[in-house]
Amino acid sequence: MHTECPIPVSADETVRLGHGSGGELSQRLLREYIYPHFDNAWTVQAHDSATLPRIGGRTVFTTDSFVVSPLFFPGGNIGELAVYGTVNDLAMSGARPLYLSCSLILEEGLPMKTLAAVMASMGRAAAATGVQLVTGDTKVVEKGKGDGLFINTAGIGSLEHVLSIAPDRIQPGDSILLSGDIGRHGMAVMARREGLEFDGPLLSDCAPLHEPVLALLEAGINVHCLRDLTRGGLATALVELAEGSRRQFSLRENDIAITEPVLGACEMLGLDPLYVANEGRFVAFVPPHQAQQALAILQKCPVSADSRAIGTVSASEAAEVILRNSIGCERLLDRLPGEQLPRIC
């Protein structure tokens, strides 16, 4: 009685606890939903780890968990985000992203179709970015103990240059470059949040940022510091860097691009776009004499085509961020205590 499996896992199936048991259902999940989107390394080794080729240069290591809700939002989904987010953290060290791990926490009841779409998207995002998904893990939690799907990616990259790219290298006089308009990711996600729904041309900026960074480095720009703008937005990232470098930053609001739809959504909910999340934007600190050249390089990459210089590092050691706004007044930016909540007042 040698029977083959005649049943393709049906598309309207959902994740069950058994898919996380390590048993036959787990195997099918891996075989049918996950391996096809990963590089052979993982599948072939059929082992709980990946043995990598020797890494040239110093190794950079990072991790992020992705918990976005909804899983699909205008302009992206959690799968792309999980690839790009970790690629970007590697890029912000000036590293070339090489390998990613992928660890899934599935909630019982997640439609298999959703998982399939997310995994396919991860596979495409990895291919487009030139990183390899080489090792992973899958857990299933009971209904009500997760939120559909959480993804963790850890990443390994190689530093192929001798620069140190870190907050403490920020110098007075440095030019602060911003790679595009801000607030799109946060507002695109919010546009799909239950109850707040609005529609319109609001797409997440979710994108990989290694290309412009490597372009800067290859051109010999003496990059002092880089930071991708994720939760907390531009303002939080800069406050962290001001504190990390003990420098004062002066920003010009007029040079910070915000699209009309982002502004409209922010005004409607009483949110400040400076604190709204991005997933495809970064700031670069470069010496003033290289600022024009750096800007030109950034503007040549599609993902950072709208880069602008938005401010400078001043001589003061006050560790603060000052925004000169559109009407010429100054505003001190600080960290928000917690999440921005929609206001009525």
Partner: protein, 367 residues
Amino acid sequence: MKFLHEYRQREAVEKIAAEIHRVVTRPWTIMEVCGGQTHAIVKFGLQQLLPPQIELVHGPGCPVCVTSLEIIDQAIAIASRPDVIFCSFGDMLRVPGSNGDLLTVKAAGGDIRTVYSPLQALKVAEDNPHKEVVFFAIGFETTAPAHAMAVVLATKKRLRNFSLLVSHFLVPPAIEAICSAPGSRVQGFLAAGHVCAIMGYEQYRPLAREYRVPIVVTGFEPLDILEGVLLCVRQLEQGICLVLNQYARAVDRNGNLNAQEILELVFDIDDQAWRGVGSIAASGLRLRAEFARFDAGRRFGMAHSSGPDRSGCISGRIMQGLQKPCDCPHFGGRCRPEQPLGAPMVSSEGACAAYYRYRNRSTADAH
């Protein structure tokens, strides 16, 4: 563990097996009635120790296997309600209804909890006064006293949010049905030790007499089962048809009178539908009128509505010893352990699951 390890000793087991080999002269077909015995036979590979003349047939004594499609569908409907917490023994969760199983309901957000005891379900009801707590009370005579006690205690505690979806089966009528079925091949029975711990075994004497079958009340460890087989075969070889008690360390002739008393207080005997087999007269239990308010079917207005089982599963015939898993058209195709069509594919010791495991071997002798 005392009273377990000693019944799993190789030397003792081999001695009994040798005695069976010594006694047997002709082919005999013996049914172990109870799913627990089937479990032990498959897990320990006991068939390997028996002479080829002895064929063990796995009987219908597994509540998971015989609970009717209709009741499973009712369970699924009730468990799907947002106001319900549905408590069940673990192995019921994977049994397929007409459309999905309880695990599917759970995955879709139903509050379904695995319990070890009906007392736990009672506690869930006490802890969740704003929810309806429904316990899936499946079982044979062994389990029925536990469910009866849950009803008594719920009454005493004045719980208004507790009810039972009852699917209870009685063994003797099933044995009678098997004996009287046309084409029956079963020549002797290992009766279910724990059922007899409650009910005693006086009821089996008329059956043994009438159908001329030896019946041996048997325990669950390898040594028990082999001794049960020996006591059965010896009678068969000698043409005797007595009721014997292999499991005397746990079973008294009259059973547990305390338990029988509470059982009669709470339940009435009624006809019952056995999955794959059909209705058998006076082979089930239902809540007595005094306790009707604990009846989940009534409380949630469950209509008797499931159509016939169209799955094509032949589990009933397998459990009666009339056919084998490989006779089923779905075996290994639409029906596999990770997506069972019928109950015998659900647990890894179910008849079909055991066959499935050995499907790639030339010798299918291990089940």
